[in-house]
């Protein structure tokens, strides 16, 4: 036994396959339950009745509130993405490069939205949104400010983890010495090297915004989750089908991110495909946050993915040095050949 479990020894192939199978079943079971539920025909048996009904123009009125909520949520996701990319990302880089002593404080600060119960946050947000409703807009879009706070812990960690794997200080100093200003450093040097973290943060942002229910419901704003809840009261089959559909979309996005960022990069510091910021790494684990809570009241299956926390939806579980042409031994080219010939 000690030999099998010794440090540095990989599990045997059959054990790996068993673990993989168990995990797959664990994740697929609720999804299959949801699928089975949506395939139940009103008159008995199985069919695509409820799926077809979703896209039937005759049912537009029934689903209007939900689709309107979906539109609002997509707009919110876009606005929060802007916050993540334009505000949070530069702030993380700034703290990393210029104020590393603030790093610890920022780490703690960004945990607060997770640590504070959603209801408490709503109590705090309520007077702010009362004022916004009176003076700016009572529509749903101002909710992006609150959602910016909600996504902060996830976006921060996805980006910061990736940034820690890059020698950002040296890269930025090299770029600066070559004449680049800070904007160029951020856009042309740092961002491409934390692409994986930015993609993960973006995906998490979309997932969280699409899956958020508590804040929007208590602040009386129409979002996707609120629409789903309303729909669930009249058409639970349609609501679960929409939940499943949104899960599939998010899964497709996840695969897309994996494909886009999966190519191993040999960057100094040992980063690679399985790096900390990878889909399978710290950031990737958070991607499993449910975009929607598929298990609605009255629906017999649980959530397909782990609980997304207090703000989740309305469900119950919610090379060696080689010789080279004209190499070193030959010495530098004649000054007349070079660009610096005098």
């Amino acid at each position: 036994m000690s030999r099998n479990l010794s440090v540095g020894t990989a599990p045997r192939p059959w054990l790996r396959r068993l673990i993989l199978a168990l995990v797959t079943v664990l994740f697929l079971f609720p999804l299959l339950g949801m699928l089975e539920f949506t395939l139940r025909q009103t008159g008995g048996g199985y069919g695509l009745e409820h799926w077809q009904a979703l896209f039937d123009p005759e049912n537009a009125r029934k689903y209007r509130a939900m689709f309107r909520g979906l539109g609002n949520s997509l707009l919110l996701a876009l606005l929060v993405l802007v916050i993540v990319l334009v505000l949070i990302f530069p702030t993380i880089v700034l703290v990393h490069l210029k104020f590393p002593r603030l790093q610890r404080g920022l780490d703690l600060l960004t945990i607060l939205p997770i640590a504070i119960p959603a209801i408490v946050m709503v109590v705090g947000f309520a007077p702010v949104y009362r004022w916004i409703g009176k003076n700016i807009s009572s529509e749903t879009w101002p909710l992006f400010l609150a959602y910016g706070v909600l996504v902060l812990p996830f976006a921060y960690r996805a980006i910061a983890t990736d940034l820690n794997g890059v020698d950002a200080r040296t890269l930025s100093e090299a770029a600066r010495s070559l004449g680049a200003n800070w904007f160029t450093v951020l856009l042309r040097v740092i961002a491409p090297n934390v692409r994986r973290g930015l993609l993960n943060a973006s995906l998490l942002t979309i997932a969280i915004v699409l899956g958020e229910f508590t804040v929007s419901s208590l602040l009386s704003r129409r979002t996707f989750q609120v629409g789903l809840l309303q729909l669930n009261q009249t058409d639970p089959f349609g609501a679960v089908a929409m939940s499943l559909l949104s899960l599939i979309v998010i899964f497709a996005l996840l695969v897309l991110v994996g494909v886009l960022t999966g190519k191993p990069r040999k960057v100094r510091g040992g980063r690679g495909a399985g790096g900390a910021g990878g889909v399978g790494g710290a950031g990737g684990a958070q991607v499993a946050v449910s975009p929607v809570a598929p298990a609605l009241p009255g629906v017999p299956v649980g959530a397909a993915v782990p609980d997304s926390g207090p703000h989740a939806g309305p469900g119950p579980a919610s090379l060696p040095e080689t010789p080279h042409p004209g190499g070193a031994a030959a010495g530098p080219a004649s000054p007349k050949e070079g660009p610096h010939a005098r």
Binding site: G179, R265, V267, E321, H324
Partner: protein, 397 residues
């Protein structure tokens, strides 16, 4: 301030009139301009890292900042680059005070200790980065990138990514990237320290050749004395945030201004003695010295003696040692008896450590001797040591 060079602590040695100096006299446009640190102070909170460092480089000159870890050499370079703000004093590039100018506007090229190529860009795009920032047209940019890569011997590598290059190749690309913008000064922060020994030697020779060809004013930071001595026009030895001595490599080695320099540059034996009218009395023998360096008769001093300035001789047999030592032999009454502790083969020479019998109480002192590789000594063998009249430095104790 003298035009050639000064430090706050020591008068500077002469500047080699070769290399960049030729370019300086031509007045051709784009040549590396003089670079100066004037009484530069750098503080981090209450800690002072640089204590009024003054250093002036001639156009086209290559000066090494040499010193142990924490001596302030990299900080001085970063102040020069603009990566650190100076707490006092001034930084001049091309005669212009750039102390308040941000790094991206100082027109410098820099190569870092860590591999600093942008991992997401190809070699060509890395090298072109600085040209893009300066708005150089595409066609001219491509030509200059190509030429620059040829200068560092990496033509044909344009489409490779940094991770497809060896460490030495990456640093050569970094050098090409730093040079392609034709900066006023080239700053190299221990660029070879991550490379293996053979590549280091080859690359440092290449760097020396390139900066000589281009006539660019260069500051090279290193903690490797051999590297500094091999490629520099002058070397500034730093210690505790100050320049201990600035001089040519020969001056540093032959005439170290301070015991620290004597100890840090090259190997030195430390022999305790008392200054006499005709030399230094060491272990009952008077060693003739070239200069008393301000010490007075009766002063207790520590004499720093290079291993190659000591001659070793078998008792009653043939001797070995530095051919140029010319020291008085045992028969002259200056020889010091000792016992061989060890003898190590170093390739072209051999280093033998001898324990001197210094006093009747049984005290002893070890001294290293370098001699031809053919003369082998067995541990325990009795020998006579003779020191040439060139103790490299005297330190009062």
């Amino acid at each position: 301030m003298p035009a050639d060079a000064t430090t706050t602590n020591h008068a500077a040695g002469g500047v080699k009139p070769t290399r960049g100096g030729d370019h300086a006299s031509s007045g051709t446009e784009g040549l590396g301009a003089a670079v100066s640190l004037v009484e530069v102070v750098k503080k981090y909170g209450s800690t002072t890292v640089l204590h009024g460092v003054t250093l002036e480089l001639q156009p086209g000159e290559l000066v090494c900042l040499l010193g142990p870890s924490g001596c302030g050499k990299t900080t001085a370079l970063r102040c020069l680059a603009g990566l650190e703000e100076v707490s006092g004093g001034a930084v001049l590039i091309g005669g212009e005070d750039v102390s308040a100018v941000p790094v991206n506007k100082r027109d410098i090229g820099m190569v870092f200790q860590a591999y600093s190529l942008f991992p997401h860009l190809t070699v060509a795009k890395n090298v072109a980065f600085g040209l893009e920032r300066r708005g150089v047209p595409r066609a001219a940019r491509d030509t200059r990138v190509e030429d620059s890569l040829r200068v560092v011997g990496l033509e044909g590598f344009e489409d490779r990514f940094p991770h497809q290059l060896s460490g030495g190749q990456q640093q050569r690309v970094a050098l090409a990237r730093a040079l392609v913008t034709r900066p006023k000064a080239l700053l190299l922060d221990e660029p070879l320290s991550a490379l293996d020994a053979k590549v280091r030697v080859r690359l440092r020779e290449q760097i020396r050749a390139i900066v000589t060809e281009l006539g660019i004013t260069t500051v090279f930071v290193t903690h490797d004395q051999e590297e500094a001595l091999a490629i520099s026009d002058r070397v500034a030895v730093m210690n505790g945030g100050r320049i201990e001595q600035l001089g040519t490599p020969e001056e540093l080695y032959r005439k170290p201004a301070t015991p620290f320099v004597a100890n840090f540059v090259g190997l030195s034996n430390r022999l305790r003695g008392v200054v006499q009218a005709d030399g230094v009395l060491v272990h009952g023998r008077v060693l003739p010295v070239g200069s008393l360096d301000g010490a007075s008769v009766g002063d207790e001093v520590m004499a720093f003696v290079r291993p190659e300035h000591v001659r070793v001789e078998r008792v009653g047999g043939a001797g070995a040692g530095s051919g140029g030592a010319g020291g008085a032999l045992a028969g002259d009454g200056h020889g010091m008896p000792g016992t061989v502790v060890s003898s190590g083969f170093l390739g072209s020479l051999r280093r033998t450590v001898v324990k001197l019998e210094v006093d009747a109480a049984g005290g002893s002192e070890e001294i290293a001797v370098q001699h031809g590789a053919d003369d082998d000594y067995e541990p325990g063998e009795a020998v006579i040591l003779t020191v040439a009249p060139e103790p490299v430095a005297l330190q009062k104790v």
